[in-house]
Amino acid sequence: MKNAVGLLGRKIGMTQVFDAEGAAIPVTVVQLGENIVTQKMTPEKNGYSAIQVGGFVVKEKKLNKPERGALTKHELPPLKPLKEYRVDDHSSYNVGEGLKADVLLQEGMLVDVQGRSIGKGFQGTVKRYHAGRGPMSHGSKFHRSMGSIGAGTTPGRVFKGVIMPGQMGNVTATVRHLKVVKVDADKRLVLIKGAIPGADDGLVTISPSKTKWNG
């Protein structure tokens, strides 16, 4: 599957703005990185067609020598992280040029936002899957533990997909079809309606949704 070209940014936090009607809209503010094209992958050389984009300009010491070498070859600033997007035709992209936020994102269009969700650690079924719990008092000894995980001799095994305790959060999460409220290309800010995954200052990718409404 081909990824739509996206933009890397950092989640700044949530606030609200007012629309023309005077209604308050909850928005998440994302500050986009520089998003500079660092390399073009071609079918002849790499076996597939894609563009590689560097998200943020960082200090030189943040990169190791091989990472720095690959960028200095094209006379690029130190960039991190690098991300590839599959595109059929990359003639419109040039190495060293930044992806333009106001071209890729327009006000009113729908976007998918991907980020790393806030880690909750090792959690039981009550918190992780909203499983029910037993009474906490009146002599009950069954508080928050798991219930049955299946029948006995038949089937003689535990079915796959039974909810159990484990790591909750800290996984890549995508929220789809969020509306772009405002794009400020000069300040590199995007205002997205609603909540997006991850903590403030977390890395997120914004890409146009594949819907009929986006044309």
């Binding site: 700044i12 606030t15 703005v17 007012f18 005077g22 308050a24 503010v29 300040k187 403030d200």
Partner: protein
Amino acid sequence: MNQILKEVEAPFIKDNLPELNVGDTVKVFVKIREGGKERTQGYEGVIIKRGGSGINQTVTVRRVFQGIGIERVFLLHSPRVEKITVLRRGHVRRAKLYYLRTRTGKATRIKEKITAKKAPAQASAARQEA
């Protein structure tokens, strides 16, 4: 608060809001839309609660209308809130006046705040001289 968030909010923040305190009697002028037409409606009552910060600042205004208590929450920086005028400053000893809900009639009266006029200006001037 984050500097970038402040910048995003800045164009919406009103700078002409009066000083509003819990216990004050105020009149809030709200824009309402009726069948494509816009008009302003006044709502008078006592501030029983202040909430939020920044762009999300709110006041809860309570009034008793035809024997039924009404509490409306106004988003202070909303463009729909056209104007707020303070009719009376109240002297109260609580941050939230929830106790008014259980009271009716004379018991809901709030003492008027008596402040010396221009006292803060004189005090600051005296401090500068010294």
